[in-house]
Symmetry: C2
Subunit: 763 residues, 2 copies
């Protein structure tokens, strides 16, 4: 453990933008009003699968106030999407109800909306398929001509050891089919962007993207212009959670409308559009089995994932990349097989979502851990401790575990929930109580999924000791602005309030791969710290001359440079800066660093040390099951998380609490009901998210393992808290009722059906 | 001469923002609309000199829509201004009609305006003084108690050699009294700022300031907050010309209104306010004499300047600092005496204005050059060539002339105007024609008047070869954005269009002293070039590995790195950048440089090499004088300017033409009529500026002296073109009529009076 006393690190600093957001001062994309700005609207497909026979825009164009109506014919024949299979406006046919058919730019939203009704599209409806199993059958409707079998040409087939041999050696085996459902991000800020071309042919996009530099490239490619012509400015983002990882057609359409009209154009999704036309979490069917030997050591895992890809391939189709991690690496196991079948259907397509497949995988893995514990006659906690990762382990996917607090997390979370007292107790009558736990394994030091996982930082100090940190990273609400300010402040010996973080403009900030893989605190934190360290060196060199003391005897604290050996030698930071600046051949301190972590891209078998470090955690929940109504309520919630080092305990708790709400939503409440490709509950009245009154008290323990590679020892845990929750709830459900739930969510209907089938319902 | 062929340097690139400005896309301060923004208005004094007895705001506050009414009592007792003699809102008394007495913030401008009428101020009028000579007399009204003699405690008294001895040695002497008038900047964008406090106590000012970092300090001081809490964002600036060098009360008032109301506040000047409540050019009375020996060599100059300071001291009060330069340094002269008397009056105060005293001084010096030439029987051109500075000279103020194109400028300008043919010809009857010339000497490599004359630059390249230049400097319309983009592009071997210049945010850009002293091309240009050179080195190091060639054999041209010895070895810049980036331990190129020029601050006698280089130029004009109407018309205009190196000839010509318009305005048309402290012509109908139809053709010659210290050899000439014009016109007037004009402007009344007094008018 690092015993240095920190001034800013470990401090419960409120988010720098907290009050601005709560008082309505933050500028979201919706707040942007450029001179002469038009409003765009998109005409969505009327059918889940149909040929487009003709489009007549003439009546729409004739409506006063309409400035442009565009169809695929007005666009270059360039597609977007992870596999470039998605035309921003559909050409010959539509493949889902969220397909973009035409778009309008008008002087206001009402006019644009009215114009949509005047666009006359003639379709020829085609048979559609909505079930991935059906889509694989011979004679099923074909979504894309180049894939007559409806198979997405992406394989995440991994294996380690000898699974077949391991099966023969196992003392106990469990086999299950888990069916996981659609949920959606429900960002409070709906999708909204503004496109503005300057008179020199350069495009500025005001976009809530999480990955501005990848977005710059993707947008350039699909517009057919040079990437150097694109500038991305990120307003305050009203929720990301992975939903803004891809470049989606609406932003491309917005850029085209602005280009064609010569005016800035804004497109804002309605709440309904936000529900049906943004990506959701992947529904998957997972067949998996796990074996243990007679001593309770895991022997093998074997899993197959059938994933409904929807009509187009997004980054979300790559989630098996992460989904396989809990199978291979959450607990020690040598023999692992993981296979995927990814299938086109006429459903909406999914995307990235906090946890990125890890939730689905962890639900399966941690459900089976409890099943195996039962078979072994072991306490679920003891069984997990028996198979726990330890520092120095290399997992079956070649991931090198450096620091690992999993054992402590397991103990702490169960201690907080009162595991020993509650586990064996009576389970009530109509209302049954149970406790359950689940852990997670996730990248904690970035993830090299793109060619670079780096982040740049520039640090500048002015004559007042004001520090500017220009970071490549993006704050999508997770509080990275504040955490990075704390890191820079600590390194420079100033206060967090002295640091201004600049992070919203690709023309200003150096490159960063974006917000994904819980990487920002770790990667951008290291970049910020190292840039600040360079600035610090220059400050100390100057101060050394002023104080007549060697650099290595100097430190900076609370804006004062002082000699560690003689505290009477000291000078204010501002004096050092001004002395350096205000002389002939003066200087102003600017320093930069690009931090690219020492990780590997994984090989063809998905092996390799993809992250510099890994994060671990355990959730333990106590629930009540009303066996008459089927209502499941979380009554207590304990989470212990290996955070490396808590840069800001309050923000960490906030992350873990917010994630818990999403995890509870995934486990019990949220269910995007899609029937024949149509979202049936596209409102907050019908799609139930967890609100503050549904939330149990969340007790968090931050386990500090002081990761040597992290900034001040920190690891990334942004996604962590959402990962194990549903599994912990299902395990508690089993503890309460003796019924194993393999489908989510545990809503009243599902629960009652399951209880009735098992004869456990109160009728 | 540098014989390297340049790709971007020397190219006639249109200003990068030209089309945006002409098509109304540029965002001026007036265009800024923040959520919940209020509008502020200022109540100006009713008297030029009065005690404030009481202020009753109650009726104004009661007006619906009024959010705040403030007076001096609501502000800390802190003053602004160069000598900190100017309370942002006046406390006990007012000293001029532009004094700020109270201010209102309301939901719109009309309401704020209406509220002003409801503020009841009781004054006790005091006797006032409007003439600096009167103000010096015993018993004159006292403007500030601490200056009972009305003398501003600022002295610009300089001397070199022995003037008294030189007087005795002179063969010819001329003595004159010149009286120079008020003119004003007439920026098309009136003063406008927006103040916005965030919820953490930090203030963002959207300001058209020319000196954002000095502004940051001054604003912090007068608000009584830490400088680190202030961020200055500069929208597109609708004209500066020096008028935005000081922090003026309206911006401080705006910040206070925003603080008190908790809402953003905008203050926009009406055109009338722009005329009476912004600083003007100093009216001065100059008594001066110059002597020559019998060979026509200048022997001495002796000058005294009486300057009307107005009621408060601004940066404009320091203009004698520059005004003395033409006396000491435009032509070779060893014995110089220059004295000033700067006097408080109840007039409006003056400020910085393009040329900064140099116009006034040059008018005197160049008028006397012609007078002396006549006494000597020499052609004015020949007389000047005889006394011309040459490279290697050190002027009487210790300014080291390195490169100097003055001789070439004199020859070229006169050649263009047809000097030899026109000078001796017949002068017409009623309409008389004449030619005149005048030269100037000005700092061309910055000016160390502040503690630092430096500028920082950060250069960043992205994966598309897009270059971002973050420069500390400010573009007030002079085109520095474009010139700096050309410089960075040239150094990096890309195209100007590949460069995005970021220059509007003190939190982003590194320090720069601001736009003054024609320093931006030179200082910011060097900073940009040196930062780009560091980036270039890193590019070449990477490319050297790829091409298997030594760095010094490599060059970059049009986005391609190539071997100079073997042109088959080449690789696109983008490939180099991507190779460097997309690998483990990759990097993105960011480089920075702070350029602080090797100049001196002048000593107590105003001696020292204040600039790295100096710029020179000559204007030759042909005018017509209608001796019946008194109308003076410039019919031909030739300017030759030592520009070091023309980075962008088109922009240079634009600068010289725009300045010529201001110079012609100063010489003939513009006259801010102030009577008893009141501006009598505060509209464009009554204050005559030069319009395109008044302009003669301007022929420019750019003399390239390739200054070794300049970026690609360039010097600064932003102010140059306005400096000698009035003198050239007065000299042409003498040539046309035989009448020497010592008062400006040469408007019909003044001209007719002078002609009548000399018996030269057609009656």
């Amino acid at each position: 453990m690092n015993d240095k006393k920190y001034t800013n690190i470990g401090k419960r600093e409120p988010k720098l933008d907290a009050e601005a957001k709560s008082r309505g001062k933050a500028i979201y994309p919706q707040d942007i009003r450029l001179p002469n700005m038009l409003h765009g609207k998109i005409l969505w497909s009327r059918y889940p699968h149909a040929k487009i026979v003709s489009i007549d825009s003439s009546r729409a164009l004739a409506l006063p106030g309409v400035k442009a109506v565009i169809t695929a014919l007005d666009l270059p024949a360039l597609n977007c999407g992870f596999k470039k299979d998605n035309p921003p406006l559909k050409r010959d046919k539509v493949r889902s109800l969220r397909d973009e058919v035409a778009a309008v730019a008008a002087i206001d939203e009402d006019t644009a909306e009215e114009a949509l009704d005047l666009i006359d599209v003639k379709y020829e409806e085609l048979p559609a398929v909505f079930d991935p199993g059906e889509a694989l059958k011979k004679g099923a409707p074909v979504i894309h001509e180049y894939a007559p079998d409806n198979l997405v040409q992406m394989k995440y087939d991994y294996q380690a050891g000898d699974v077949e041999a391991a099966k023969r050696e196992s003392a106990h085996v469990v086999k299950d089919r888990f069916k996981l459902h659609y949920v959606t991000h429900t960002c409070l800020g709906t999708c909204c962007c503004v496109a503005d071309w300057d008179t020199n042919g350069n495009l500025t996009m005001y976009s809530p993207t999480q990955v501005p530099f990848l977005y710059q490239k993707d947008l350039a490619d699909v517009l057919g212009i040079a990437g150097s012509r694109i500038r991305v400015i990120q307003p305050v983002i009203g929720g990301g959670f992975g939903s803004k990882l891809d470049l989606y057609p609406y932003e491309i359409i917005c850029a085209h409308l602005a280009r064609i009209t010569g005016q800035p154009v804004k497109i804002t999704f309605t709440r309904q559009e936000e529900f049906f036309a943004t990506p959701c979490r992947q529904p998957v069917i997972v067949d998996c089995e796990t074996g243990v030997d007679k001593n309770g050591k895991l022997v093998y895992r074997d899993a197959h994932v059938l994933m409904d890809n929807g009509a187009y391939v997004s980054w979300g189709a790559t989630i098996p990349y992460v989904m396989m991690n809990p199978f291979s690496s959450l607990y020690r196991v040598k023999n692992v097989r993981f296979k995927t079948t990814i299938v086109y259907t006429n459903n909406m397509y999914a995307g990235a979502f906090r946890g990125y497949g890890n939730l689905q995988g962890t639900f399966c893995v941690e459900s089976q851990m409890d099943e195996l514990a039962e078979k072994l006659g072991l306490d679920p906690l003891e069984f997990r401790l028996l198979n726990c990762n330890e520092p120095g382990d290399v997992t079956a996917q070649g991931m090198k575990v450096t620091t690992c607090g999993l054992r402590d997390c397991l103990k702490k979370a169960t201690e907080m929930i009162g595991w020993k007292e509650k586990k064996p107790g009576p389970k009530g009558d109509r209302v049954k109580r149970g406790v359950g736990l689940a852990s997670y394994f996730h990248v904690g030091g970035g993830a090299r999924v793109y060619m670079s996982d780096g982040c740049g930082a520039i640090v500048k100090l002015d004559d007042f000791g004001k520090v500017t940190l220009i970071t490549g990273s993006t704050d999508i609400g997770q509080g990275s602005e504040t955490v990075l300010a704390q890191i820079a402040a600590e390194e420079l010996g100033v206060r967090t309030e002295d640091v201004t973080v600049i992070n919203t403009d690709t023309s200003v900030k150096p490159w960063d791969v974006g917000v994904h893989a819980s990487r920002t605190t770790f990667i951008a934190g290291n970049a910020a710290r190292m840039a600040a360290a360079k600035a610090r060196t220059r400050i100390l060199e100057s101060a050394a001359l002023m104080l007549n003391a060697p650099c290595d005897d100097l430190d900076i604290n609370d804006r004062v440079v002082y000699s560690k050996s003689d505290s009477t030698k000291n000078v204010s930071l501002v004096k050092v800066l001004r002395k350096l600046h205000f002389k002939t051949d003066g200087a102003v301190i600017v320093a930069e660093h690009f931090y690219d972590p020492p990780q590997e891209r994984q090989d063809g078998n998905f092996c390799g040390n993809i992250s510099v470090t890994y994060s671990f955690g355990t959730q333990a929940v106590e629930i009540e099951v009303d066996t008459e109504t089927g209502k499941v309520t979380v009554v207590d919630f304990a989470v212990a998380n290996d955070v490396g080092k808590a840069i800001n305990p309050m923000l960490l708790e906030g992350q873990l609490e917010g994630a818990a709400a999403q995890g509870i939503g995934y486990g019990i409440y949220e269910n995007l009901q899609i029937v024949k490709g149509e979202v049936k509950n596209p409102t907050f009245l019908d799609y139930k998210i967890v609100t503050s009154k549904d939330m149990p008290p969340i007790r968090t323990a931050l386990i500090e393992t002081d990761d040597p590679a992290g900034p001040f020892g920190a690891k990334g845990i942004g996604e962590a808290g959402a990962i194990p929750t549903a599994a912990a709830i299902a395990n508690a459900f089993f503890d309460a009722t003796g019924v194993r739930m393999r489908d989510l969510p545990l809503g009243p209907e599902t629960v009652l059906r399951a209880l009735r089938e098992s004869g456990k319902a109160v009728s």
